[in-house]
């Protein structure tokens, strides 16, 4: 139903977009200046890399990383016949780190690749990190591709916006695609100010037709539509100020650019089959993240105000969302060396049932268990329940080290009571169990 409404509104929106293109021209001339600056910085970066290699003998290099084999089992029959019940895949992420200049400069390269048994979209390659870092007195400059995390809450990460989510990796949104950037951090007594110029937009990756954990209609990323006429070439920017005041950690951020979160509109692929087409709007997002650490308590809040999502002319394109709650830790639980943490968070989105997120008025409760043993055995369980429909999203993550180099992880996510109007409806039969064995080197 919702998807059809989206479609009828599309034509009107296109007109608005054309109007905005003129306004975008001013922006694009500013962009071209930024682009030239970026090109210059890129050149100096390459030059410094060459220099770095020349001084290699005097510096320290380190190769580390991980390789993992993963098995996902879906107990329920899929919606589509091309989807499977068992998926095997392997992933590798080596990392080369090299530092010199008394650790004031470093270079990091971390490519990532996954090979999936069935889903050709999940078989993917990405450069997670390719960065040159220079640390000065009260400032740090980073140039290249990397990942940045903002925020404090556990159930979802609203404020975190720099990187695109690597959705084929995991549903939890914690795996990210490497983002090209110039990042200058000013570290002063009034706090840390991070400035970002973000050239090169990364499209969200979606599972393919043969993959599970996808929308009922598969997403055709090749047909993605952009509000910016520069498409993926638009240069975005962001800034964040963060400071610690005693027990309080505060962060204030702003992002202007192409939304990392596309709207999914119904369309057809090149063969005429019905698919969903991602549409990326230009948005402004202001974010606040706050944590109060007192005794055994952690109190957390993340809030965002976003405009432009769903087109700037649309009323629904302006909204507030927040996540807030606490984590309380019982150390030496019941006289043992086990730590037990209880977590609860409230998830809110002003758009209510119209929200693209399933978490518009939901409560999360969870528990974190750390055995504090030599194998660092730990588990995290959480359930997010919709206050109106009762739909629940269950999560379990547990891991244990084997020897010194191996780690075994178990992950399970489940969906219960998901109704037709819920954005999680496509996943209603995709509850799964995942076993992973990883080798670290």
């Amino acid at each position: 139903m919702k998807e059809t409404q989206e479609e009828s509104g599309t034509r009107g929106k296109e007109r608005n977009i054309r109007k905005r293109d003129r306004y975008d021209d001013v922006e694009s001339s500013a962009c071209s200046v930024l682009f030239r600056v970026f090109r210059f910085l890129l050149r100096s970066w390459i030059a410094s890399l060459v220099l770095a290699c020349a001084t290699a003998a005097r510096a320290q290099g380190e190769l580390s990383g991980q390789a993992a084999i993963e098995w996902r089992i879906f107990p329920q029959q899929a919606i589509s016949s091309e989807q499977q019940r068992s998926y095997l895949s392997v992933a590798v992420q080596p990392e080369y780190h090299y530092k010199w200049d008394n650790d004031k400069q470093s270079f990091t390269f971390a490519p990532f690749a996954r090979l999936d048994h069935h889903d050709k979209e999940r078989t993917h390659f990405d450069i997670r990190e390719l960065t040159w870092l220079k640390a000065g007195d009260g400032w740090e400059l980073r140039l290249g591709i990397r990942k940045v995390f903002w925020g404090v809450t556990e159930s979802q990460h609203l404020v975190d916006i720099i990187n695109q989510t690597d959705l084929v990796e995991n549903l939890d949104g914690e795996d990210k695609l490497g983002q090209p950037m110039v990042n200058l951090a000013l570290i002063r007594n009034w706090g840390t100010l991070d400035l970002f110029v973000l050239p090169g937009f990364r499209e969200r990756k979606f599972p393919g037709g043969k993959g599970r954990l996808r929308t009922t209609l598969p997403v055709d990323s090749d047909r993605a539509v952009y509000e910016s006429k520069r498409g993926r070439g638009r240069i975005d920017w962001a800034a964040r100020w963060a400071r610690t005041f005693g027990d309080w950690d505060v962060g204030l951020s702003h992002f202007h650019g192409t939304s990392r979160e596309p709207r999914l509109l119904p369309g057809a692929d090149s063969g005429g089959k019905p698919v969903l087409i991602p549409r990326y709007d230009i948005i402004h997002q202001t974010g606040l993240d706050l944590q109060w650490t007192k005794g055994q308590w952690l109190w957390k809040l993340e809030a965002i105000r976003r405009t432009g999502q769903g087109g700037q002319a649309r009323k629904g394109g302006r909204y507030t969302a927040l996540t807030g709650g606490f984590e309380y830790t019982f150390s030496h639980f019941a006289g043992s060396r086990v730590d037990l943490g209880l977590i609860s968070e409230y998830l809110y989105d002003e758009r209510g049932e119209k929200a693209a997120t399933p978490f518009q008025d939901d409560i999360m409760v969870g528990a974190r268990l750390a055995l504090n043993d030599a194998q660092s055995s730990e588990a995290l369980f959480g359930v997010i329940v919709d206050r109106h429909t009762g739909a629940s999203f269950l999560n379990l993550e547990a891991s244990r080290r084997l020897g010194n180099r191996w780690k075994f992880s178990l992950e399970s996510r489940g969906f219960a009571g998901v109704r037709r109007a819920d954005p999680l409806f496509g996943l209603r039969r995709d509850s799964y169990l995942q076993l992973e064995l990883a080798l670290y080197f």
């Binding site: 580390s64 991980q66 780190h97 470093s106 870092l133 640390a135 007195d137 009260g138 740090e140 990397r146 990942k147 940045v148 995390f149 404090v152 914690e174 951090a185 570290i187 840390t192 963060a242 610690t244 950690d249 944590q291 650490t293 005794g295 055994q296 308590w297 952690l298 984590e327 830790t329 150390s331 030496h332 060396r337 730590d339 504090n372 043993d373 030599a374 194998q375 660092s376 080290r401 020897g403 010194n404 180099r405 780690k407 990883a438 670290y440 080197f441």
Partner: protein, 259 residues
């Protein structure tokens, strides 16, 4: 008049020493030990942590530690983990305080996330070892109250034996018995008593070496848990003092790029 006062003071001085109660003497020993270690400014060292379970099976962790002395407050420390490999790059930033709980931030490299953690969990095991966070964090005089017990010979050295009581209600201990050598005021042994006042752990330190002609640091530390039969051995290497570390090297930003 002044001379009479001085004379009077000199006469009464031994009396005042005699009158010193065990609490005052205990505190005096702790203050002296603290005074002797003051002024080191900063140091870095490599640490190997060897965990041994009751069956004698061992597993190792390798980390690098940097400490900054803070005038008027507890020290700042930054610990970077190299092994086991799955925690490679994980780092912990700690600001210890003379009063109240310490501030701690943990950097998780896979998520690129800095997490402020509840340091009220000070009695929790550090990296699954027999050392609690409070055992390895900076030992400030103000964190305990004291009582001198007796003189005793330990490992062939003349020692003071003092008892100390943690001030912080989040501490995992009721009391600790500490053996401090009279010659250099180094901690040679500590018995830890849990909240129920039963003997929980014994700490011993050996292989002390003097740095910059003044600052004693142990080469090996051992913590034995009497209740579980497990133990943890710390081997310290490559101590370097006064490396020129500053406050700016102990921030959430430096935590992110420490590795």
């Amino acid at each position: 008049m002044k001379k009479i006062l001085l004379l009077l003071t000199l006469c009464l001085w031994p009396l005042s020493v005699l009158a010193q109660n065990p609490e005052e003497k205990g505190l005096e020993i702790a203050v002296e030990a603290d005074r002797r270690d003051a002024g080191f400014k900063d140091y870095v060292a490599d640490m190997a942590m060897i965990l041994k379970n009751k069956h004698g099976e061992e597993s190792a962790r390798l980390l690098r530690v940097a400490i900054l002395e803070v005038n008027g407050d507890g020290d700042k420390s930054l610990s970077i983990f190299d092994e086991p490999r799955d925690v490679n790059g994980t780092a912990l930033l700690s600001f210890s305080h003379k009063a109240g709980t310490d501030d701690q931030w943990l950097y998780l490299p896979a998520l690129k996330r800095v997490k402020r953690i509840a340091s009220a969990d000070k009695s929790g095991a550090f990296m699954g070892s027999e050392f609690a966070y409070e055992d390895i964090s900076s030992q400030e005089v103000e964190k305990y109250t004291y009582k001198y017990l007796r003189d005793e010979t330990y490992d062939g050295q003349n020692c003071f034996v003092i008892e100390r009581y943690p001030v912080d209600r989040y501490s995992g201990y009721k009391r600790q018995l500490v053996w401090i050598d009279k010659a250099e005021y180094r901690t040679l042994k500590t018995d830890y008593y849990d909240r129920k006042d039963s003997l929980l752990k014994t700490f011993t330190a050996k292989g002390y070496k003097r740095h910059l002609g003044k600052y004693w640091r142990a080469g090996e530390m051992l913590m034995v848990n009497h209740q579980t039969g497990k133990s943890t051995r710390l081997e310290w290497n490559n101590y370097k003092f006064r490396t020129g570390l500053k406050d700016a090297d102990f921030t959430q930003e430096s935590l992110k790029r420490a590795r």
